[in-house]
Symmetry: C2
Subunit: 479 residues, 2 copies
């Protein structure tokens, strides 16, 4: 019990200091470590295993939809980055520049890729010649670098891991459909697998990706009421294709430009998991991506047959679930605290009394509910409990978002509701003028997050200027 | 047939110009493309799929042996790289330096990792405190950069993909055992999965990894008689641990240094596959890593029922094998040449006559042998043929190595045998003096490749100076 207490005391309470609570979890759950490389993080085995599970699920979905993986160089020559003018303006201020190879100065400096549109376009110009070469549905898993001033583990770091999909299509319609399809893949993955409800929407023009015609995003609300952009999908039209001179001969034998998309999600999602589901006992992981789904803890392990019985449960469960038996010398109480900190969704306790009664105790992480389960139905009970954790996490996150979503008609109402109820999503109408967008942020503190897809207008006047409104917008403070 | 011929004519014959043949295959089999990033390559989907298959097999083996994946920053601050003196001397001349972030000059420049010993050591110093923290068995899949002057796809490029295992152990014995275990994992993978026979051995002192006490390697002989170092495993003793001040409290409560290893294989293995198994019709892939193991080609596809029958075979086989049905408009002859170029191990042809006779034709890539197979036994026949391809490739590669391995007692004999029989492995005794090692290379053209493990001496005098020999050495010209 002493150990138990010590472990729990080591985390700051989320209500006292959410930012410190977040950092504590990153460290105490063994997700990351710092190094002498400023602004970058070491992703430790437990954190990396979450990423591997995310990769497996998404990679399978991408491939089912016909995408192929590829690997592009990590460097971009300066002249190549400059080919599309909006793109270079957006990224040049935040790239890392390589100027020397060994002891020699390079004739042209190169940046470490912040994103790879330019490299893909150069390659597409080489390999796309005929309508038979389309579509090209490529994806890359890699790390990218953006020279951020302020960094936080997973949420904003100078290097991060991601996937970047880059596709080329014969028609604008097909490219637009791909953009929306991949947004939906991201949304489904978040809702089903990560148990994180998201708003799907378009970014306002001021918030689009550098060089894109349209940028779509999924936006999630964290426990503290701040918004997290959790994935983006861009439609480029033929802008890059023109800048990079990518053409093909269509069925009518005309030479035309193809239409392009890109889409990405990053290790930032791990930050989203922490801030959506975590609590004062530590991390809480959605079962689909948890490195350990079930931890088995023998109670009174020194008594005859207990370790063997625990091992028997592990053997039974390991073909269906990611299982760990902790038969170390530490006390059960220490272990409970340890695996709660690590967010393991389901814990099984088994001791002499349980063995005698042909049962075990299952504890679900998110609500600490204990259930006595007959060993005859163990596999089914564990599957059911894992589903209960996913559903419970989703319901809790959705309730938090609903509680913290405010329909507002005036700026005063925004200020009032945020002051009364805390940070959250503000739903308010907008005229489309970037000046109003800026003013809302300046006066109320919330910026535009997205123009939601498929939601009805809640009024007809701009929340800022009172002129006719064009769109409903979600506003919020963002990570 | 016109198409067929054109495709085959496009490759240089390996006997005419082996280097050009190699480059032709890299391009024509759609493995790579070049970009404006000099010395780096684009790994195209077909090439990358080979790498993904390699990763899956090795990653599973590493994890079965208790290793965990981790992700370290891609940058190394100059002061960190300099902490181990041999290491920095070995790598500093060939790293890419980042000097600016955005528009600001960095206070300390950083290199893009050429290898990550220094980063792992800094982390180990943070997380290893007690004997209970050992061993640490970590691995990383990533890309690394070494600023090579002369580059060739897969074999030597400025950026390449690899895995780097880094482990820490309580005792020297345990670390040495890990070094040898991982060398054996690499050797087994090459022999069983890649069908490439290898010599396991130790590097001579002049050829060790920068900072290692011992370096082991597997050496393969390519079709042209040149050697390829295909994987390395290093034992560091406690040298880095001392340089990085990594200590732990042992069971006797003494503060001591742990012992370290590292080991790696790279995308270079794909070059090894090409140069071991390829022929004048293109690539030949070992089934374990082939993106497509079985290609199904309908013959007289316009006749009723042919496409459906071919689709039926694909459906039957797809749960057990990686299968592709090519029902495109191209002629069967064009398709045969195309999938021979791509090295698909097994081709199935099915036409109206076959359908009537309840059979299909299976053609194995490496020997172009045709077998008529009853559809009743299709799954078993395909499995058997894939095994036959693996065994046939291994036997052919082994025969090439045996034919090209020369036991030599004098320098003249080395020169003679190489001149008579072409490049290959020279087995000759060595006194251990680096001057003799250099002289052998200078006079005969072959450098020391490795001191083989577990092979008997073939004499007692140094091939160079005639003084008492210490070791048998494999010598060769290397990629």
């Amino acid at each position: 019990m002493a150990n138990d207490k010590k472990l729990v005391e080591a985390i700051t309470s989320m209500d006292v200091d959410f930012a410190q609570w977040y950092t504590d979890i990153c460290k105490k759950a063994d997700l990351i470590d710092y190094s002498s490389v400023k602004g970058c993080m070491i992703i430790r085995p437990y954190g990396y295993a979450i990423w591997e599970n995310i990769q497996k699920i998404l990679d399978t979905r991408f491939k089912e939809l016909g995408h192929e993986n590829i690997y592009m160089p990590m460097f971009i020559p300066e002249s190549l980055l400059q080919k599309e003018k909006d793109h270079v303006a957006g990224f040049a201020p935040e790239v890392a520049w390589v100027t020397h190879g060994g002891s020699e100065r390079l004739t042209e400096r190169m940046c470490v890729r912040p994103t790879s549109e330019t490299l893909f376009c150069e390659h597409y110009a080489n390999i796309i010649h005929s309508y038979r070469d389309l579509p090209k549905l490529y994806n890359q898993w890699c790390s990218v670098v953006r020279w951020e001033k302020t960094t936080r583990p997973f949420l904003r770091s100078r290097e991060f891991l991601w996937q970047e999909g880059h596709t080329m299509h014969a028609t604008a319609e097909e490219a637009r459909a791909e953009t929306v399809q991949m947004l939906n893949v991201y949304a489904d993955f978040h809702e089903q697998d990560l148990a994180i409800p998201v708003i799907k929407g378009a970014k306002t023009p001021s918030d689009k990706f550098a060089g894109a015609e349209d940028t779509y995003a999924i936006e999630a609300l964290m426990h503290d009421g701040k918004a997290l952009q959790a994935g983006t999908s861009h439609y480029f039209g033929d802008g890059f294709a023109k800048a990079f001179d990518i053409t093909y001969t269509d069925k009518e034998n005309k030479i035309v430009h193809p239409f392009q998309t890109s889409w990405g999600v990053t290790t930032r999602m791990i930050g989203g998991i922490i801030m959506t589901h975590g609590d004062d006992n530590g991390l809480v992981l959605p079962p689909a991506v948890a490195p350990i789904q079930v931890v088995i803890i023998p109670v009174a392990a020194h008594k005859p047959g207990v370790i063997e019985a625990a091992q028997g449960l592990a053997d039974r469960l390991k073909s269906d679930f990611r299982v760990k038996l902790d038969d170390s010398d530490n006390s059960p109480g220490w272990k409970y605290a340890e695996y709660e900190m690590k967010g393991v969704p389901v814990r099984i306790e088994i001791g002499p009394h349980d063995i005698e009664a042909n049962q075990c105790v299952i504890v679900t992480r998110h609500d600490r509910e204990k259930t006595v389960v007959s060993l005859d139905n163990l596999e089914a009970a564990v599957a059911e409990k894992l589903q209960a954790v996913r559903d419970g996490l989703y319901a809790k996150a959705l309730a938090n978002r609903e509680k913290r979503t405010y329909n507002c008609e005036t700026m005063d109402e925004i200020i009032e509701k945020l002051a009364e109820n805390g940070d959250g999503f503000v739903r308010a109408m907008w005229c489309g003028d970037p000046e109003c967008e800026d003013k809302v942020k300046e006066v109320t503190g919330v910026g535009s997050r997205c123009i939601p897809l498929g939601e009805e207008a809640i009024g007809d006047k701009c929340v800022c200027c009172g002129k006719p409104a064009k769109q409903l917008v979600y506003w919020g403070k963002a990570y």
